[in-house]
């Protein structure tokens, strides 16, 4: 099969790899029809997440047709399914508490040592990500082996387009969980850092959950325009003093909830960012946390901090005092996708959520490297890239 492989920093290539096969009883094999490039893929592309090996197949946001099933799978050949990026067994302590991303049984035992050392506990398994999370071959490929296929994949009713449902795999539930973690009430002002795909879906979710006011922050005009179209007010951080503006826009109280949808590679020419980037470049392993620091400073006393943005290691100058002295609550995590898919599918069917407005490019799988390059360097125009193995070059 053809598959997009990681070769090193800023070096990804579509290559011919062996087709996957059923290995464990609960496996299914999916023929991919659509797969997206995610902001998390950029962290791998930029080489800031540890545990990548040359030749790894990337991609964790994908859907397709079932072409083979193991004896323990509940899927049937021919069914169309969206596959959550989190691999979950469905029966461990964490899965039974709906904390699917924390599954104890999906990260192979021999891959758990490093995350156990780095984070104190081993992480769950993820598709197309680092070997810290299992090193599972990913979905930017013609075929994928899907473990625990009786738990994760969600069967898509006939008549729904790929593009309508693809993001159930990752960014749609991620935006939703980001808003849910912010505990939004009807009078709340909610601020979202980053108007990339995750931030845009977080804005849409916060509005759907009844926030009185949502403010999106970024510096790309096109992304800010998309946020405004959803109903958010916007701040361009290259033009405005963000902290001052947020105080003014929230009546001097400060926002009730803040969402960091930027993660470990925050931009901006703030002194902390320059220092963070320097450390990342020289390999000190520090995450860049400008957005998160700013969010912690901005949020009102007793407010909520939700962090869907990905961090992999350590963060310097973390304003822990602001967290404690203001009595904040902070929630974060890889998304517990399976917890949200059924409800979100219903909301898509009923037209409550728009899932396609952010797709800017549809490319054949063979063009994946061009997709990565542009999604990285041309973010204003390339909002979200969907790869279609079936499209002709």
């Amino acid at each position: 099969m053809r598959a997009l492989t990681w070769q090193g920093k800023h070096d990804v290539r579509v290559e011919t790899m062996p087709d996957p096969e059923i290995v464990n009883p609960r496996d299914a094999i999916i023929e991919v029809t659509s797969t997206a490039i995610c902001g998390s893929d950029l962290h791998l592309y930029d080489g800031v997440i540890p545990g990548m090996l040359a030749g790894d197949i990337l991609g964790h946001e994908f859907m397709g047709r079932v072409v083979d099933t193991g004896p323990g799978s509940t899927l049937q050949k021919g069914q169309r399914v969206v596959v959550p990026f989190t691999i979950s067994c469905g029966s461990c302590f964490f899965c039974s508490h709906q904390q699917y991303a924390a599954c104890d049984n999906s990260n192979p035992a021999e891959k758990q040592d490093v995350s156990e050392k780095l984070y104190g506990h081993a992480t769950g398994g993820l598709f197309g990500y680092s070997h810290l999370t299992g090193g599972y071959p990913g979905g930017q490929a013609e075929y994928v082996r899907v473990p625990f296929s009786d738990v994760g994949p969600i069967v898509i009713p006939d008549g729904m387009e790929d593009d309508d449902v693809l993001f159930l795999s990752d960014i749609l539930p991620t935006g939703w969980m980001a808003a849910a973690n912010a505990d939004i009430g009807p009078d709340d002002t909610v601020v979202v850092w980053g108007c990339g795909p995750v931030g845009l879906f977080a804005i849409q979710s916060a509005l759907a959950m009844g926030a009185a006011r949502v403010i999106g922050i970024d510096h790309y005009p096109n992304r800010l325009a998309l946020a405004r179209k959803l109903g958010a007010q916007v701040i361009d951080y290259t033009q405005t003093h963000v902290l001052e503006a947020l105080m003014e826009l929230s009546g001097g109280l400060g926002p009730d909830a803040v969402i960091d949808a930027v993660g470990m590679e925050a931009h901006g020419f703030a002194p902390d960012t320059v220092m963070d980037n320097f450390k990342q470049t020289v390999g000190v392993g520090a995450d860049s946390g400008h957005a998160l620091r700013e969010a912690l400073m901005a949020v009102r006393k007793g407010g909520r901090v939700s962090v869907p943005g990905v961090y992999g290691g350590f963060l310097d100058k973390f304003p822990l005092g602001a967290l404690m002295e203001k009595g904040l609550q902070l929630r974060t995590g890889q998304t517990h996708v399976q917890k949200y898919t059924a409800e979100l599918l219903r909301r898509i069917q009923e037209g409550e959520l728009d899932t396609t407005f952010l797709i800017s490019h549809r490319l054949p799988l063979e063009d994946a490297a061009r997709g990565y390059d542009n999604f990285k360097t041309n973010q204003n125009d390339w909002t979200k890239v969907v790869l279609k193995p079936g499209l002709q070059v």
Binding site: V23, P25, R26, C89, S96, D104, S106, G135, F148
Partner: protein, 220 residues
Amino acid sequence: MTLKTSGPIHRPRPQPGLFQTLALAGALAGVAGYAIWTTARRHGAGAVHPPDDAPGRTATRSRFGRHAVTGRTVTIARPRQEVYEFWRDFRNLEGVMENVTQIEAEGAMTRWTIRGPADTHLRVETETVSDRPGEQIAWQSTPGSQIETKGKIMFRDAPGRRGTEVEAIIAYVPPGGRVGQIIAKLFQAEPAIQGRRDLKRLKMLLETGEVATSANRKSA
């Protein structure tokens, strides 16, 4: 035999490269003088600290006599009796122990064949010395075994409905000579790692019916 499992036991620092599978673990054991470990830990110049409640193997002191001790607890979301019975049939463990190629059981005796580097094999022979159904199984090596070891596995109800807490403790005499070299080569990393991995695979198999792998093909 009395293997003490909690109290202020002085944890022997696992020696790099010495210890791998629980089988081996099963294989490895040999706690002659646990009693001595119950003496209070001493820190600094003569200050006597009363014993705490942590398992002895987590103590900061590294070593007791000729024995190395390691262990690990996992919670398995299955009934205690079921977990016990699975373990009781040692041949089931082939599926979860990475480097064990063969397990032969005959009465109270079990022979474990462990794969070493470059086509070498270690043979470990153990005898089951106590078996309390649903509670614990203990074993020790026979004189013919290539590794001198002693260990036990205990099964307790976890709080609420969380299943069973499975605790494995293995003590062994780090072998020298050729066998020691093979083991060192085989288990380059931290010695307790393999035992930990094997317990996690046991948990996977009992909770999900399979052992997780990211291999895309059976042959891989």
